[in-house]
Symmetry: C2
Subunit: 343 residues, 2 copies
């Protein structure tokens, strides 16, 4: 039995657990840990994990794959605390919404005998906690994969396999690029949404305003219900990019204001018409196609996942073809090597 | 057969038609008019109306109730053109998203022999046109009712009855108050949504940004798909209130910016936490209760609607109890008078 350990049993960690269990994998055991014993108990009851451990150390001790799904700012502490207990050859990934800070912590804190492959599922909902976990949360969603420079190829394949198993589309990207991009499509919408809600909510006319508000207000303010710790951590770990996009948003609002103030009706109409046309195209046609990079074939069985979990080096060692385990770069450079033969 | 005429067969006019027809009213005929003959043809085919007329004049000539569901800026022209053809005692309503301008046009252009009761259903979707009409569009939604100062009580009851028949909740409000309030809960979200989409769409990194964008971006930008003519007309007819709220939104974004820039983490967290808590309360508990004013009992049959359509004065005249038809103020002051006896 190969062990996958999920650290942090909230909405994301719980949904990964459910999605993995929905794949009915054999030979895989999913272990959970949460510093909140109630969350761990809920996760067990909801069958998000096969079992949970009371200590981080025992949770990661025999793990082939560790998925850190805690709040962003807790990731550093988790890495620090578990570093000494991680088995050699173990693969570590995370689910944090910002990546540069996390990649830095991994490089600084994790031992050279493990591979780190950062991850960020572009999915969520406005309700948090393991009780809102959903096996379909990631279905069809982009899932950023950011391998550390020294991650083995087997580790990248494993994390990519997990991404596909939970139903998401792997999206390979650099950490800095990731943080700049998600500031635009995720963090700025979050702040706009929270600011709109806060503004309207604080009006003395709130009783009337809220009676009149309909689906438009509800949709645009949906992200105001985002877990405040997440919002805060995002701002803290992606400050420059968030500030950049916030400034650009204020500029853009200024352009609307100017057209409105100066009665430049035709230009205002054109601006709305362009937005309508472009968004309709985006929603109908989807984003411009960007091929997943080296995603490989999706995993279709627990055996394939187990093979990835055991890892290429171990597979070779078992077969008597092994290189010394510490020679991890070698495995990383061999493209296409894995548990299966390829033509 | 009493005639209800819908002028403007788009999403809103079409949905009102469908909702009225879903109520299976007997003795009511729904006539449509659209200056676009294709839209009128579609409306007939989709059974949104019983029949359509080729001219505005013939459409309104025998109507008991005229519902103007055109774009806002077209309302004035419709009123001007149909004014001379409206039967005495006819009730006119509209569905425009701003009300002060419309109430002014009605007062200026409609004859004293008809009653105007402004309306604004707080419902919509990001797709327009009669082909997207939906009988359930108004279900449970607030529907603003703004009687002209000289509207008869029967007219108010009739429009309120229609509001309830299409499944909405009547919300009585003054025109100026309406425009200030919807600027906050409807027009500001629209501009924020369009500005966010426009900003991100115009980035050179759009191919990557759009690949990464997920449900959050999609929801917050949903209103960017609003019909551009509607967005433009709203800005044009509610300029001062929209500017007011736009300025306040920029101020609010500035507060987030300041906390972020100055690293005031605790305050930032508190701001997000307050927004999360308040929005969750709003979504779970709904708005503070505000009782509908004088909404009366919901209509439950076509006969009741027909009685309202025929109107109190006509009912009395038929019964030989009538006042002269031009004495419309009298009817307007008698509370509770209608087609039915009340205790």
């Amino acid at each position: 039995v190969e062990r996958i350990t999920i650290i942090g049993l909230g909405l994301i960690g719980g949904s990964i657990g459910l999605a993995l269990k929905a794949a009915s994998l054999t030979g895989i055991e999913i272990v959970g840990y949460d510093k909140d014993a109630h969350a761990a108990g809920d996760a067990r009851r909801l069958r998000v994990v096969d079992k949970s451990q009371r200590s981080l150390h025992s949770a990661v001790r025999d793990a082939r794959l560790v998925i850190i799904a805690t709040p962003i700012t807790a990731v550093r502490g988790v890495m620090e605390e578990m570093a000494g207990e991680l088995p050699e050859g173990c693969v570590v990934t995370d689910t944090a919404s910002t990546k540069a800070a996390v990649m830095g912590w991994a490089s600084e804190l994790l031992p050279a005998t493990v591979s780190f492959v950062g991850g960020h599922p572009m999915a969520g909902k406005e309700t948090s906690g393991v009780q809102n976990a959903d096996a379909d949360l990631f279905a069809g969603k982009p899932y950023c994969v950011i391998p550390a420079p020294d991650a083995s190829e087997g580790a990248v394949q494993l994390v990519t396999g997990i991404v596909q198993l939970v139903g998401a589309r792997p999206f390979f990207i650099e950490a800095d690029e990731h943080d700049r991009y998600v500031a635009a499509v995720s963090h700025l919408p979050l702040i706009l949404s929270a600011a709109l809600f806060t503004l309207v909510r604080s009006s003395p006319a709130w009783p009337e305003l809220s009676s009149l508000a309909s689906s438009g207000f509800r949709d645009v303010t949906r992200l105001a219900s985002t877990d405040a710790e997440l919002s805060h951590d995002i701002c803290l770990t992606n400050r420059e990019s968030v500030l950049h996009w916030l400034d650009r948003a204020v500029e853009e609002l200024g352009r609307y204001r100017e057209l409105l103030q100066e009665g430049r009706e035709e230009e205002l109409f054109e601006k709305f018409a362009r937005a309508q046309l472009d968004r309709d195209t985006y929603v109908t046609a989807g984003p411009p196609v960007r091929e997943p990079v080296a995603a490989g074939e999706p995993l279709t069985s627990g055996e394939q996942l187990a093979a990835l979990l055991v890892g290429q080096r171990l597979v070779r060692r078992v077969r008597g073809m092994g290189k010394p385990p510490e020679n991890r770069q070698e495995g990383g450079r061999r493209r296409g090597a894995g548990g299966r033969d390829r033509p």
